[in-house]
Symmetry: C2
């Protein structure tokens, strides 16, 4: 693969994503669905214009930069104080949303006579919400500061922390034993990271900003924002959290000339974010839907994945009334990278078959693609009928 080929492929991907995205928008549908379909269309399972062997890593990294910028932007628009106000429901939604799909997943798989280890891995893949798609739809509706958004974002952080503990347990069991010490260390690492970022973060950022006003190092708040985002995203990855959680936290604690940086991030967003959704689309192999055996189990697993998160939203968010709670539940439906990582891990350990891996892939794709249209329809009704929920 030559550089100039990749440039053509990036052009094709961006062009397809924008054209389909804007066409969907013109039809009053979420742009993100158009972008996902653009990826399916030009990707290796569609026209095969993009996404060949040698360039997978390049596309993945550009996509990851996109989703990091997306979550930084959303974090920037979220206030730490407002997030704390929804602490209780967010923790509830996050916790129930981990326990319930895991329990139902294990139940289904064991009921269908799969082995214990297979059941544990598939169930673990159902656990973590990937908040990128929901965050995008919320942004497109200007709904980042609504209760729905804050609960979903808070729950996504909780959910991701619990998910890495579940993964640690399941991986431990598969390897023939869990080390309690190892689990405690993992948990403490994550906790220390969060506490430091959320409590010390704003102060450190402010201090650095004083430093940046000194004449010796002029600095640019925007470059500092990029640095903080890349840094916390990378650090999140190192301790096992999703990199987007770190990017979200970076946005949350960033407060130097916030409005200016928010304006500056927009073009970067417009450049990179479509790549995330289009590249996600390139992974969809529509032929998996043609295999009856995989499809049957996938339908069952996907059903559980959806129902469990909706139930978590209804239960954890019931103080906001049924409609808002339901919207929160829908916002938690999409699964992506973490589910795939768990499944790929199981595949590599030889614990699950490539058929079961296919089942998890179908689940992540379906939950990712189904959410934007449903959530959009609900948000339209939402803003029309319950404008008072924008605050609290």
């Amino acid at each position: 693969v030559e550089n100039s080929d990749i440039l053509i492929h990036l052009f094709v991907l961006f062009a397809a994503a924008r054209i389909l995205g804007e066409t969907f928008q013109a039809m009053k549908q979420p742009a993100v669905v158009g972008e996902l379909l653009a990826g399916v269309l030009v990707g290796p399972y569609g026209l095969g214009l993009v996404g060949g062997e040698g360039e997978t890593l390049v596309l993945e990294v550009i996509a990851e930069l996109g989703v990091i910028i997306l979550l930084f932007t959303v974090g920037l628009e979220t206030s730490l104080g407002e997030l704390r106000q929804v602490g209780r429901p967010a923790v509830l939604v996050g916790t129930i949303g981990v326990v319930l799909p895991f329990a139902l997943g294990v139940g289904l798989m064991l009921g269908l006579d799969y082995e214990n280890r297979e059941a544990l891995f598939v169930a673990a893949a159902l656990v973590a919400t990937s908040v990128g798609v929901t965050a995008r739809v919320l942004r497109d509706f200007g709904a980042v500061r609504t209760v729905v958004a804050r609960v979903v974002l808070g729950a996504a952080v909780v959910d991701d922390i619990l998910a890495i503990l579940v993964l640690a347990v399941v991986a431990g069991l598969a390897r023939g034993g869990i080390s309690e010490l190892g689990l405690t260390v993992t948990f403490l690492e994550v906790l220390v990271f969060l506490v430091i970022v959320v409590f010390a973060g704003p102060g450190v950022v402010r201090k650095l900003s004083d430093f940046m006003h000194l004449p010796i190092v002029p600095g640019s708040p925007f470059a500092f924002a990029v640095l903080l985002t890349l840094g916390l995203a990378a650090l999140s990855g190192v301790i096992g959290l999703a990199s987007i959680i770190g990017a979200f936290l970076a946005g949350l604690i960033f407060e130097i000339r916030k409005d200016e940086v928010a304006t500056q991030i927009e073009p970067v967003y417009e450049f990179l974010v479509p790549f995330f959704f289009a590249v996600t689309g390139t992974h969809l192999d529509p032929s998996v839907f043609a295999d009856g055996h995989i499809l049957g189990l996938a339908a069952g697993v996907t059903f559980i994945a959806v129902v469990a998160k909706v139930a978590a939203g209804l239960l954890g968010g019931r103080q906001y009334g049924r409609f808002v709670a339901l919207t929160i539940g829908v916002g938690m439906i999409p699964r992506a990278e973490v589910g795939l990582i768990v499944a790929a891990f199981g595949l590599r350990l030889g614990v699950i078959s490539s058929d079961l891996y296919g089942v998890v892939v179908v689940m992540t794709v379906v939950t990712t693609i189904m959410t934007p249209p449903i959530l959009s329809a609900m948000l339209k009704r939402h803003t029309l009928e319950t404008p008072e929920l924008a605050g609290e």
Copy 2:
């Protein structure tokens, strides 16, 4: 290589580039030198933190996006009309700057008893200016609309066209014969591309902009600018021109809400451009300077590379007076990707040895690193003493 590792490496590279860049700026030195040195420092030949086997392609593509954004920005700040005004000197500087280094290069190599084919390849590698470094320094000085900038940019386009013809001839000779038909086709391709872009481009862009104002496809001028840039850069690559020439042309003909797009491109610039210079730095292996044999020849070749371009500037730009003409010549000194491509091509054909390849690498690195400080010093004097040259 995992995604999360690459994220860490991107963070390290960006952090090093910004910190050294700003330190240099604080010392009244060009930031771009700091960014280049940052790449040397953290790259595989320095601390080895960044740039390992598996991630080279990822870094190259991100760097290429950076230099494309840089040249688009410079194109946006250049007016086609003003560029036409310097047509004659630009063509002169470009043409002399191809003929002279080629002739001197062949002379030196034959004088040192190298074979004909070796002499031709090394000389061909001396031909093409890589205008990225100069464009960056000019931008940092707010000097994009000066005569110096316009002549250098125009000459870089001419130079690149002639360089691909030289490469076609040399490659043909090495393979044992040139096809006149092939050469004519190459030349016509490039000519048709340029004529269409420069003459039809502005009209097409305007037509598309009318289309974008229709309510059915709302569109964003910024997204359209990105699309145009990626598209022309990729197309340039396809017909054998450097992708940055296409990006420059995209900026030159783009005219939809130009001021707005110019403001929006800035953050993307700040995000991606430092990667180009830092990644360029990672390629520098300082140990080549320790090999006396390579170093001697490299010194001679580099001397010719510098002198020939300075002479081209002095001759082609003499109507502007000696100082401006000299500055133009210095602006033409940097060689990068095209020189390396020619040398790598000769290496693959078995025409030149890895020692001669090393010589070309030293030449590109030295010409790239030496230009910013010299050009900066000259531009400082320039704006101080000859402000009237800003216009014409």
